[in-house]
């Protein structure tokens, strides 16, 4: 197994991370670290454990064993809210949007703005401010929405995906986890979303790292600088794009080297 050596304190370090579901080892003793502005592709067959790894980092799944460090400090996330407080934003494979809400309500899902003064103390929502801010953020996106007040249930699969990714980008953070962000997208839409991700990374004021899961090698190749390959829950390769080839990556995914 190759492991590129990187200088400086890693943004993220994982040691011996495992998640077992009964006898299934969804994730098995995975260790790696991630530098400040790296964009890493996480690859592997169906059931390889990619989503499980992302969920462990996002606080949505509690690992059976292993440690997670951010900037050298150990973190234990027992809820998604705790991971988000540490600047980890996630786009889940199943998107996790509320269909009956519009874009702004989904952006602020779980972190709604409340009004100032006594109304705020009673938890009264500040819908106007939320809408204004979400609108301003969405207008900067390359993707266009005909109607910003439209409910998610009226949107296409691609539009929903853009909403979910924009939500993660809207909150910024220092680590972005994207689980198959382009899976339901057509060629044109996927290109737009990838462009958006690229813009988000380069626009980020502070350093921002990203882990992207995708089954589409072209997408991975166009945005990532490094590739992690999972196979049956184990990390089988950690490669720099500049030092590998697609053939080698595919061989790792399919297990040709086993």
């Amino acid at each position: 197994m190759t492991r590129p050596v990187r200088a400086g304190a890693p943004l993220l370090e994982i040691r011996g991370l495992s998640k077992h579901y009964g006898t299934i080892r969804a994730l098995d003793d995975v260790s790696f670290h991630l530098g400040r502005d790296e964009v890493v592709g996480l690859l592997g067959d169906n059931g390889a454990g990619k989503s499980t790894l992302v969920k462990c980092l996002a606080g949505a799944v509690i690992p059976t064993a292993g440690e997670v460090y951010l900037h050298g400090e150990q973190k234990v996330f027992s809820t998604p809210a705790e991971a988000r407080r540490e600047g980890i934003e996630t786009v889940y494979q199943q998107l996790a949007l509320v269909d009956i809400f519009d874009i702004a309500a989904n952006f602020y899902l779980g972190r709604e703005m409340t009004r100032t003064g006594w109304r705020g103390r009673f938890g009264m929502l500040d819908r106007r401010s939320m809408k204004k801010r979400a609108r301003a953020a969405v207008e900067l996106l390359p993707a266009r929405f005909p109607n910003l007040d439209a409910l998610i249930e009226t949107m296409s699969g691609g539009q929903r995906q853009v909403v979910a990714i924009s939500r993660a980008g809207f909150w910024g953070g220092r680590l972005l986890l994207l689980d198959e962000p382009t899976a339901a997208l057509g060629v044109k839409e996927a290109a737009a979303v990838l462009e958006m991700i690229g813009a988000m990374v380069s626009a980020a004021e502070t350093d921002m790292a990203m882990i992207v899961i995708s089954h589409n090698m072209d997408h991975v190749w166009s945005i990532c600088t490094r590739l992690l390959i999972l196979r049956q829950g184990r990390l089988v390769a950690d490669l720099l794009k500049s030092e590998t080839s697609r053939q080698e990556v595919v061989a790792h995914i399919t297990g040709a080297f086993d």
């Binding site: 998604p80 988000r84 996790a96 509320v98 009956i100 809400f101 779980g110 009264m124």
Partner: protein, 347 residues
């Protein structure tokens, strides 16, 4: 177009004879696009029913009778408000009828032996105990809410008979809630009706204007997304069960005060009446939909129907048939509306 109740709007053109009639009326009025919301439909039904009964019975549209209608709907409306909140979050509580009976029984027995104050305390404690049992079973042990509350419905009907020794208990000196009336604009409004309006206003604000309400709609529409967004599901739903307990206690005190006694059947079938109102009011057992205003209008429809049929001396069995028809109608209407739903939740 936005609907106040999170209900659905639909195009009514092309719906057989009624549709044609509607079309004809509207084209006379010169409007091109005809859409109306489920909420407007409910209000329409209420107005039509009221008009019909006014036409058929000279007694119906008197202030005395209208106040009667409100009083009859008050208790169901109070527990229906809390039940709307539960349904929005994909939960239900069918134990409220027995809970009212049990809280009432505890009240009557404790009040008889220790005085009214401790009676009220006992009623609140009884209602909260049932709410706590429901919440723990549903949220901690993950039992489905229908099954849990069905079990408590059965168990606490028995428990209230135990408390009362199977006999009705009279309650002395507690007529205030049931009998006091305040004069508002020349009409004598009973306390129960004022309580109903307060409860509806409270739930309206809670559900429409607060972060908590927003969370409850999210939990009902997509629990997984709500959890991943960091919404504390158990806590928020638990609060709804506590609120249900409080409305049960209030409802029990009103019932006891109105009747002046508690019997083994006090509160019976109220869960079905409330649930009927909540569903006719636009909430769905699948969560994410519903509003207290819809529930209030639906419960008024049901109360007007009961009252009107009595005034017309229609055999009382028809009331039940009509209730069932309304419920089925509402569910079918809801299903049709889903196809081109226009549910609005503004941010």
């Amino acid at each position: 177009m936005s609907t106040e109740d999170g209900g659905s709007g639909r195009d009514v053109r092309g719906g057989g004879r009624l549709g044609a009639l509607y079309e004809a009326v509207i084209s006379k009025l010169g409007s091109r696009r005809v859409r109306f919301t489920a909420m407007q439909a409910r209000v329409g039904v209420l107005v039509l029913l009221a008009a019909f009964f006014t036409f058929r019975s000279e007694y119906f549209f008197t202030s005395t009778n209208l106040v009667n209608v409100l009083v009859n709907g008050a208790v169901i409306g109070i527990i229906g408000s809390a039940m709307t909140l539960l349904l929005v979050a994909r939960q239900v509580d069918v134990s409220v009828g027995s809970a009212i009976g049990f809280a009432g029984a505890v009240f009557a027995v404790v009040a008889r032996d220790y005085g009214l104050f401790w009676g009220v305390v006992g009623a609140v404690a009884a209602a909260m105990a049932i709410a706590a049992i429901n919440a723990v079973a549903i949220l901690r042990f993950r039992v489905n809410s229908i099954l849990t509350t069905l079990a408590t419905l059965v168990a606490f009907r028995g428990a209230s008979k135990l408390v009362m020794d199977g006999r009705a208990v009279r309650v002395e000196g507690f007529r205030f809630l049931g009998r006091t009336r305040f004069e508002v604009l020349g009409v004598e409004i009973p306390v129960a009706v004022l309580v109903l309006l307060l409860v509806v206003a409270f739930f309206y604000i809670l559900m429409r204007l607060t972060k908590y309400g927003q969370h409850m709609y999210a939990i009902g529409a997509n629990p997984q997304a709500a959890r991943l967004a960091g919404i504390p599901l158990e806590r928020q739903v638990g609060i709804a069960f506590v609120l249900t307990g409080i409305t049960v206690a209030v409802a029990a005190l009103i019932v006891v005060s109105q009747v002046g006694a508690v019997s083994p059947t006090t509160g019976e079938r109220m869960e079905f009446l409330a649930l009927t109102g909540v569903i006719v009011g636009g909430a769905s057992l699948y969560g994410g939909r519903g509003s207290v205003i819809g529930t209030l209008v639906a419960i008024l429809i049901l109360a007007v129907l009961d009252n009107g049929l009595v005034l017309l001396q229609v055999q009382s069995f028809w009331q039940e048939v009509m209730r069932g028809v309304l419920l089925l109608g509402a569910v079918v209407f809801d299903q049709l509306g889903r196809r081109e739903s226009e549910v609005r939740m503004e941010v």
